[in-house]
């Protein structure tokens, strides 16, 4: 049976963080209820569209999915179980933020089959948490973490952020040592991006430009400081048994996030909920981003209209059919984000031609620049290649006229 992964989007937050540009916001209980109902309709609808697939992972992300109450979460999980054949060993993750969970909630998660938590910490320093506009303190996080462990969660990710305004090596070190001491199975270390449309953008837009240009900054770490923060994170986590398997992701032995690697290896996934993205049948799609339109369209879904040939959804707002060229590009720039890189024979198996036939020049140049190596039949980025991954990965975008036969 074909396998697929599911992403479920819960766009609700207690309060939107100042740096966040994800599709999320603060909504009242009625809206949450209406959204959950709509989501369940979409789940049922897509379940019918996609008969006979086994679900190998589910990731419930947000927003703050843990902000949903138990009844709504249960309703959603039941809908998923009812509509999809979820493998018994499937990795099922839910994102939680400190202060939005209770003992009961964790217990119900366990009961519903959720077996992995991703807890948003970002920093162990309360001043940094305040600066980020987070609603919790470090103390509060500790409480949540403790509760999670005691509730029987043995696969936990903790999110931390680097490159915060005013972040020194010492401050980041403090965060890392605190987190490491808790021994979570997985740590995601994201670099702060100052995104347009966020309060952070208004505060730091000039700095962001300076940072990008390699100039002296006022609040944000300059490029060199950012580099040192990033390298220190890598080094410290590695020393404590967290190996880096992707640019921002570290895990203890055997605890890499399966769902995460689905994205980088181009395995199919179905996005459910507001604005959720899918990769399915060599199409990239994304759902409507307006919550009212989303609910309206879900209410109009009729269970009957199943197309024999194509999977379609009235919720899709954007549909991009991937060409052979798109697929090759993605194979490379996604695959190379992972430390283990891409396998030569996988490329040949997928595209029917050798990797060198398409990317010979790029591979040669990147190897000459010591950004890429070929070892054991795999191409992967060197440490410097990872440091300069934007530069390196951009090389794999092909010109329109490239001959791909």
């Amino acid at each position: 049976m074909k396998e697929i992964s599911l992403y479920v989007h819960i766009p609700f937050c207690v309060k939107k963080c100042d740096y966040c540009d994800f599709l999320s916001g603060v909504y009242d209980e009625q809206m949450q209820r209406e959204y959950t109902n709509s989501l369940c309709r979409e789940i049922a609808y897509m379940g019918q569209q996609l008969e006979a697939v086994a679900v190998s992972s589910i990731y419930i992300g947000g927003g703050t999915p843990s902000w949903l109450n138990i009844a709504e979460t249960e309703k959603m999980m039941q809908a998923l179980h009812a509509s999809f054949a979820i493998r018994p060993d499937a990795e099922i993750t839910i994102e939680c933020n400190p202060g939005t969970v209770t003992w009961d909630k964790f217990a119900s998660y366990r009961k519903m089959g959720i077996n992995r938590l991703s807890i948003g910490l970002q920093s162990a320093n309360d001043d940094e948490l305040a600066l980020l506009g987070r609603v919790h303190t470090y103390e509060r996080f500790l409480h949540t973490y403790d509760m999670a462990r005691k509730s029987g969660f043995y696969n936990i990710n903790v999110d931390v952020m680097t490159g915060l305004p005013g972040q020194t090596l010492d401050k980041l070190m403090h965060t890392l040592t605190q987190v490491i001491a808790l021994r979570p199975e997985h740590i995601s270390a994201y670099a702060l991006m100052v995104e347009e449309g966020t309060p952070f953008y208004e505060r730091y837009k000039f700095d962001a430009v300076l940072q990008h240009a390699g100039k002296q900054t006022e609040f944000l770490p300059n490029e060199d400081e950012e580099y040192r923060l990033y390298k220190m994170t890598q080094q410290v986590l590695q020393e404590h048994g967290y190996h880096q398997y992707e640019i921002s992701n570290y895990a203890r032995e055997d605890y890499e996030c399966f769902h995460n690697t689905v994205y980088w290896t181009r395995r199919p996934y179905l996005g459910l909920g507001l604005g959720a993205a899918s990769l399915i049948e060599e199409k990239r799609t994304s759902n409507v981003r307006d919550i009212y339109v989303y609910c309206q369209r879900c209410n109009g879904l009729s269970q009957a209209e199943r197309d024999e040939h194509d999977i379609v959804s009235p919720l899709w707002d954007e549909v991009t059919e991937l060409s052979r060229k798109d697929a090759m590009e993605e194979f490379m720039f996604l695959g190379l984000r992972m430390n283990r890189g891409v396998k030569r024979t996988d490329f040949t198996d997928t595209f029917g031609c050798s990797i060198e036939a398409v990317y010979g020049d790029v591979l040669k140049r990147l190897r000459e620049e010591a950004l890429l190596v070929l070892d054991g039949g795999r191409f992967y980025l060197t440490e410097r290649g990872q440091d300069l991954s934007n530069y390196a990965l951009a090389q794999f975008l092909l010109e329109d006229e490239t001959d791909l036969s």
Binding site: Y263, E318, D387
Partner: protein, 603 residues
């Protein structure tokens, strides 16, 4: 219909920039009933988009209107608009030659400015009767009496009866119309004499070919006449003659002595119909051409390159089309190691350059890279020959150079007394030689300096304005060449000379400019995988150096979940950025870098 010569008035309006010349022209056209207000686009005469946006008149234009005067007679007014900028001085002088009188517009608050003087002297040189008009009398700061006195004292024109108007509101413009009839002369000339017509402008029209704007001095021109241009030697059969409505050409039977109008003759290139040339009949030519014709030569050169090398043929086509309308624009193909194929283009001045550049970008949608503009240097070689150097890359080896000369101008700067010191400092910094200073009145002086052209083409005007808080005005004319100590400054990026960044500079300021260039380039060149030295050198001697550090980190660590499209867009943006770069050796230089060095003095 034959028009009685005594009821024709051919005139122009001269003024300092912003004193209200175009506004007055609009009012005159409006009030003589040629156009209804609805038809009236603001500033009818300036019909290029660019002109309207910049509020300046680039090419001269003409319009004919009918005015019914208080004496009950109808008069034909031919209003010839003249460019206001010094770059187009020659065109101004030819436009003036087509007139019999001039209206001098002076701002009631600002009084006489440098261009007022330059233009009014030019008008007097052409024996035009000058009718002073005081404009903007509705401004709170207006002081018309002071301005009248100034006109009498400084220029020596009777000004007590000058109409005091507001061109903006139309106040007293009627008075101007009456005085045009009573105080400006009617044209003279014999309609039966051999044809003698002055070309004062021409433009290319895709349907009619070149349209020649002319003033008939003697004789008569009709459709079907065989004519020739006395200076260029081009000949043609006249297809159509006519006069200028507002924004349109109105054919008529004939143009006779004293009239201003146009003719078409299926001429394909404006080069054949140069401004200042004389048109005469091929079979019955006039004895001699009208005086004053000269071929205008470009003063400022720069390289223009298409940002996308594939657009080279498009750039050539566009330049050719612009040249159809602009005989002063010159271009020759050239190649640069850094920029590929492009053109070395010659312009009358920096404004002319900017206008051409903007028109290429706006009307022809070309993305351009411009090299630093330079003047034409004279290089006297040891073998006794002399070359006119328009491209620094062509400078001969130092051993072959005997000496070099650079063009200089005589500049007239009018400034209020409190800023005299600051302006004199500026002129000194720009290697100026003091000639004289005269007080126009107690609070204002006219400074005269000789200045190297190369020192004023970049930003002199801006510097002048900022150091005088806008109270200085400026005009100049070419004075020829003087011997000067000049060197070629080369820029090396990662040890490779970038030809497009080389320029000629006075040796005394070479260090300073070299240092600034390196600083600016350091800002503009993005970091690469390796360290990049940027050096300024004279010959083999390095005089300034900066370093672009190697790039250490360029990671997009943030995870966008399944939203791969967004991730790809960011990578595409990164790659797109590289496309806009120029490869020199193994360094990629953004196009902006070539332009940024033109603006060294901005910060």
């Amino acid at each position: 219909m034959a028009i009685d010569q005594s009821r024709i008035r051919n005139f122009c309006i001269v003024a300092h920039i912003d004193h209200g010349k175009s506004t007055l022209a609009d009012r005159i056209i409006e009030m003589t009933g040629l156009l209804t207000e609805r038809e009236m686009q603001a500033q009818v005469l300036d019909n290029m988009d660019l002109e309207r946006e910049r509020g300046i008149t680039i090419k001269s234009q003409a319009v004919r209107t009918i005015y019914k005067a208080k004496d009950g007679q109808e008069y034909v007014f031919n209003l010839i608009d003249t460019p206001g900028h010094v770059d187009f001085n020659y065109e101004v002088s030819r436009s003036l030659a087509a007139c019999d009188g001039a209206i001098l517009v002076v701002d009631a608050a600002q009084g006489i400015e440098a261009q007022t003087l330059a233009n009014v002297y030019l008008a007097l040189d052409h024996d035009l009767d000058v009718l002073p008009v005081i404009n903007k009398i509705d401004l709170p700061s207006a002081d018309p009496q002071r301005v009248k006195d100034e006109i009498e004292d400084v220029i020596g024109l009777e000004a007590q009866d000058a109409p005091m108007i507001s061109a903006k509101t139309g106040l007293n413009v009627e008075e101007v119309l009456e005085q045009i009839v009573t105080r400006l002369p009617a044209p003279e000339g014999d309609s039966a004499a051999p044809l003698q017509a002055l070309i004062f402008d021409s433009l290319y029209d895709a349907y009619k070919g070149v349209i020649v704007f002319c003033r008939i001095k003697e004789g008569t021109m009709r459709a079907g006449d065989e004519v020739c241009m006395m200076a260029t030697g081009a000949s043609a059969e006249v297809v159509e003659v006519g006069y200028f409505g507002a924004g349109q050409f109105i054919p008529c039977e004939e143009l006779s002595a004293g009239m201003v109008g146009y003719m078409t003759a299926s001429i394909k290139n404006v080069k054949d119909t140069r401004v200042g040339d004389t048109i005469t009949h091929k079979n019955q030519p006039c004895a001699e051409p009208l005086p004053g014709y000269k071929k205008v030569n470009p003063m400022v050169y720069c390289g223009l390159y298409p940002a996308d090398g594939a657009k080279y043929p498009d750039l050539r086509d566009a330049l050719e089309k612009l040249q159809l309308n602009d005989a002063a624009l010159q271009f020759e193909p050239e190649t640069s190691v850094a920029l590929g194929f492009g053109f070395r283009c010659g312009f009358l001045g920096l404004l002319h350059l900017e206008i051409i550049q903007e028109r290429l970008e706006r009307e022809y949608h070309l993305d351009l890279v411009t090299t630093a503009p330079g003047v034409v240097y004279r290089v006297h070689k040891t073998d006794g020959t002399m070359i006119s150097l328009t491209n620094p890359s062509n400078l001969p080896e130092p051993s072959e150079i005997d000496y070099m000369e650079e063009p200089v101008v005589e500049a007239e700067i009018m400034v209020t007394s409190e800023y005299i010191g600051a302006i004199m400092d500026l002129c000194q910094e720009r290697r100026g030689t003091y000639i004289s200073m005269e007080y126009m009145e107690e609070s204002r002086a006219l400074l005269k300096y000789t200045l190297p052209l190369n020192e004023i083409i970049y930003d002199f005007f801006d510097a002048l304005k900022s150091r005088s808080r806008g109270y200085a005005s400026f005009d100049y004319e070419m004075k020829g060449y003087v011997r000067s100590d000049l060197v070629k400054l080369d820029i090396l990026i990662n040890k490779e000379e970038v030809d497009a960044l080389s320029f000629i500079v006075f040796s005394g300021t070479a260090y300073e400019r070299g240092r600034k260039m390196c600083e600016k380039l350091k800002e503009e060149i993005p970091r690469h995988l390796f360290e990049i030295p940027i050096q300024a050198a004279i010959g083999s001697k390095v005089i300034a150096r900066e370093t672009v550090k190697a790039m250490r980190k360029d990671v997009l660590a943030k995870c966008y979940g399944g939203d791969i499209t967004r991730k790809k867009k960011l990578l595409e943006k990164q790659k797109e950025g590289k496309k806009r770069m120029r490869q020199v050796g193994n360094v990629e230089i953004p196009q902006e870098a070539f332009m940024s060095v033109l603006k060294l003095d901005e910060d």
